[in-house]
C-alpha cells in the first residue's frame, strides 16, 4: 500500500503526530503484577463516559427539551426499536458511571495514590466525582415524567434551606416562580453543555497529571512516600522495571472496558430503559417521587435524620464531605501507602460501603412513606361482613389508619403493626392513643364521631392471637 504509506508520511511530517503519540502510548509504567487488574477502573470509567456522550448525542438528536414536549419526544424515542436500546444504554451507562467512579475512587484511596506527587490527581478526581453525580441527578430529571418533574420541586425545596439565599436559590433552580417552560431548558443546558464541558476539562487535566506524574506503583509495606526523594526513586523504578503501557498494561483496560460495555448493552437490550412514568402534569396529585437507586442512600439518610438536624444535614453534609475529600491529599500527602498498614483506610471504606448499601436498602423500602394505595381490608382478614367489627374495619381504612398501620399483611409500616393490637391494649388505651396522636400520628380528636370510634375500637379489640376471653362466671356459680 505505497500510496497509504506516502499519505501517512506526509501527514506525519507536517503534524508530528507519531513523535508524541507513539511515545505516549508506549510510556513506561511500573509492572503491576498481582495488583494489575485494580488499575482498569479509571479507564473503564472513561470508556463508559464516552459511551454516555455518544448515546447522549444520539438521544439529543430526537429529544426536545421543551417543558411541554419533552415527554412526548421520549415516548417517541422509546417506541422505536433502536431508540429503545439507545435509551437503555444511556440509562444503564449512568448507573455504571456512578458505580465505576466510586470503585475507582475507593481503589485510589486504598492504594494511597492520592499522596505525593499525585495530590492534584486526587483533587481533579473529586471534582469529577461530584460532576458525575450532578450528571446523574440532572439526567433523571430530563426524563421529565412525574418523578422527574417533582424531583425539581424537591431539589428547589432542599436548596431553599440554605441560609439567607435559600428563597432565591430555590427559584433559581425552578428558573422562575413555578416549574414551567424555563425550568427544563435550564437542566438540559446543565446536563448537555455546562457539566460535560467541565467534565471534559477535568478529565483532560486528570489524564495529563497521570502521564506527567506517572501511574502509581502498587503499594508495598515499607515503601514510604518521601516527597524529597520520590520522583527520582520512581524514575529509577521505571528505568529498571518499567514496561510499555501499550500493550503490556493497556490490554487489560481494553478487556475490562469491553466487558463493562458489553454488560451495559446486554442489559439495555434485555431489560430496557426505565419505564416512562406519567406526563409531568403538576395537577396529577397521585405522585410519589423517588430518586434513582444511586441516591437512595442519601434519601434514606435525610428521611431518618431527626427533624432539628435536617437543615444542617442537607446543607452541611455535602459541604463537610467535600472539605474532607479536599483536605485528604493536603494533610496525608506522605508516609505509608500500603492499605495493610493503614487499618483506618480499610475501616473507612468498609464503613462507607456498608452505609451506602444499608441506607440504600432502607431507602428502597422507605418505611417512613405511608402506603396510600392500601386497599380496604378483605373479609378474610376482618372476619365479619356486618356489625361493629366490619364497620370498624371500614373506618380503619377510610380514616387513613391503614396507610401507616399493618393488619395481617395489609397496609403501611410507618406505624406499629396492629395485627394483634387487641392483645396489647385495652380499648381505653387505644382510645387515648387515637385522640392524642403522636409525633408521627395525627390526633383524631375532632375527626371521628362517637359511632366511628366505637366501631373502630370493636374492630381493633378483635385483633387477637386467641379468641377473646370467655365472659367470667358470676360469683358463686360452679
Amino acid at each position: 500500500m505505497q500510496i497509504v504509506q506516502r499519505i501517512w508520511n506526509w501527514f506525519d511530517e507536517v503534524t508530528g503526530v507519531s513523535g508524541w503519540l507513539i511515545p505516549l502510548a508506549k510510556h513506561p509504567v511500573p509492572p503491576a503484577r498481582k495488583s494489575a487488574w485494580f488499575y482498569v477502573l479509571g479507564s473503564a470509567t472513561l470508556f463508559v463516559f464516552i459511551v454516555q456522550v455518544v448515546t447522549g448525542i444520539t438521544l439529543a438528536s430526537a429529544y426536545v427539551p421543551s417543558a411541554g414536549q419533552a415527554y412526548h419526544t421520549l415516548a417517541f424515542i422509546s417506541s422505536t426499536r433502536f431508540g429503545h436500546i439507545v435509551r437503555g444504554i444511556h440509562a444503564f451507562g449512568a448507573s455504571a458511571m456512578v458505580i465505576l467512579i466510586g470503585v475507582h475512587a475507593i481503589r485510589v484511596y486504598l492504594f494511597g495514590a492520592y499522596k505525593y506527587p499525585r495530590q492534584m490527581g486526587w483533587l481533579t478526581g473529586v471534582a469529577l466525582l461530584f460532576l458525575v453525580l450532578g450528571m446523574a441527578f440532572t439526567g433523571q430529571l430530563l426524563r421529565w415524567d412525574q418523578t422527574g418533574f417533582w424531583s425539581v420541586v424537591v431539589a428547589a425545596e432542599q436548596a431553599g434551606r440554605t441560609p439567607f439565599i435559600g428563597n432565591w436559590l430555590g427559584h433559581f433552580i425552578l428558573a422562575g416562580d413555578t416549574v414551567g417552560g424555563a425550568t427544563l431548558s435550564r437542566f438540559f443546558a446543565l446536563h448537555v453543555f455546562f457539566i460535560p464541558a467541565l467534565i471534559f476539562f477535568f478529565i483532560g487535566f486528570h489524564l495529563y497529571l497521570v502521564i506527567r506524574n506517572g501511574i502509581s506503583e502498587p503499594p508495598k509495606v515499607g515503601n514510604v512516600v518521601e516527597p524529597k526523594t520520590y520522583r527520582s526513586w520512581y524514575k529509577e523504578l521505571l528505568d529498571r522495571e518499567g514496561v510499555p503501557f501499550w500493550p503490556d498494561a493497556a490490554w487489560r483496560d481494553a478487556l475490562f472496558g469491553l466487558l463493562v460495555i458489553a454488560t451495559i448493552v446486554a442489559l439495555a437490550i434485555t431489560i430496557g430503559p426505565p419505564v416512562l412514568g406519567k406526563p409531568p402534569d403538576p395537577s396529577i396529585i397521585e405522585a410519589s417521587p423517588r430518586p434513582e437507586w444511586y441516591f437512595l442512600w442519601y434519601y434514606a439518610v435525610l428521611s431518618l435524620s431527626p427533624r432539628w438536624a435536617e437543615n444542617y444535614i442537607i446543607i452541611l453534609g455535602p459541604a463537610i464531605l467535600i472539605v474532607v475529600l479536599i483536605l485528604l491529599p493536603l494533610v496525608a500527602y506522605k508516609g505509608e501507602r500500603s492499605p495493610f498498614k493503614r487499618p483506618w483506610a480499610f475501616g473507612i471504606v468498609g464503613f462507607i460501603v456498608f452505609m451506602i448499601a444499608y441506607f440504600g436498602s432502607v431507602g428502597h423500602v422507605a418505611p417512613w412513606s405511608p402506603r396510600m394505595n392500601a386497599p380496604p381490608l378483605p373479609v378474610s382478614v376482618v372476619g365479619e361482613t356486618s356489625g361493629p367489627v366490619a364497620d370498624g374495619a371500614r373506618v380503619f381504612h377510610d380514616k387513613g389508619c391503614e396507610f401507616c398501620h399493618k393488619i395481617s399483611g395489609y397496609g403501611g409500616i410507618r406505624g406499629p403493626d396492629l395485627t394483634y393490637a387487641g392483645d396489647r391494649m385495652t380499648p381505653e388505651q387505644m382510645e387515648t392513643r387515637i385522640y392524642s396522636g403522636a409525633p408521627n400520628m395525627p390526633s383524631y380528636n375532632n375527626n371521628i364521631t362517637q359511632q366511628q370510634l366505637s366501631d373502630l375500637l370493636a374492630f381493633l379489640s378483635s385483633r387477637r392471637r386467641r379468641p377473646a376471653a370467655p365472659v367470667p362466671l358470676t360469683a358463686g356459680t360452679k
Binding site: G166, T178, D281, I285, S369, G437, N447
Partner: protein
C-alpha cells in the same frame, strides 16, 4: 521541537517597562472582552423572570359544594408558550361557606411533594415522608415544619378565582 523564550536584555530597563506595559494591556483588553460577554450572559441566567400576579378562574360558584375539598388546576400567570402541561398548578380548594373559600397549595412544606386530601379522614397526607395536616392546613404529625401555604382566593362575578402565585419555598 522547542520553544525559544526571548530573553530581555538585562541592561535595558526601557524594554522591560515596555514589555510589562504590553503584558498588562493584553490582560486588560482580554478581561474587558470577557466581561462584555460574561455580564449579559450571567445577568440572563441569574435574573429571575418577573411575572405579574394574575387571578385565574377555577370554576363557577355553584360548582363547589359547601364543606367539600376538591382539587382544582389553574394556569400559572404568563406561562412561556412552550410550557405545555407544566403551565398548570394544582390547589386544594374548599368552600367554607356561601362565599368563603380556602385554597391550599398542594406542596408539602417539608420538601415539596404533592399532598393528598383524604376525605374520609379529613386530613391531608403526604406520600413522601408521611407528613399529615389537619383540614385547616396546620401540621398534625410528621416532618413538615409549617402549615400548608394558602393561595389568595376570591369570588368575582360568580366565579371562583385563585391568585396564581410562586411555588412556596420553605426556608
Amino acid at each position: 521541537m522547542s520553544l525559544e523564550v526571548t530573553r530581555e536584555p538585562e541592561s535595558d530597563p526601557c524594554e522591560g517597562n515596555r514589555r510589562r506595559f504590553l503584558s498588562r494591556l493584553s490582560i486588560l483588553l482580554g478581561s474587558i472582552a470577557g466581561a462584555v460577554v460574561a455580564i449579559p450572559s450571567l445577568a440572563f441566567l441569574l435574573g429571575l423572570r418577573k411575572t405579574p400576579r394574575i387571578w385565574r378562574t377555577v370554576g363557577k360558584l355553584e360548582d363547589f359544594e359547601i364543606g367539600s375539598t376538591v382539587k382544582v388546576a389553574f394556569e400559572d400567570s404568563s406561562p412561556l408558550p412552550w410550557s405545555g402541561v407544566t403551565a398548570q398548578t394544582a390547589a386544594w380548594l374548599r368552600r367554607v361557606s356561601q362565599d368563603q373559600f380556602i385554597a391550599f397549595s398542594v406542596d408539602c412544606t417539608h420538601l415539596g411533594c404533592p399532598v393528598r386530601w383524604l376525605a374520609g379522614a379529613n386530613l391531608f397526607m403526604c406520600p413522601c415522608h408521611g407528613g399529615v395536616y389537619y383540614a385547616d392546613g396546620t401540621v398534625a404529625s410528621g416532618p413538615p415544619p409549617r402549615p400548608l401555604r394558602q393561595y389568595p382566593v376570591r369570588v368575582e362575578n360568580g366565579e371562583v378565582q385563585i391568585l396564581a402565585s410562586p411555588l412556596p419555598i420553605t426556608t
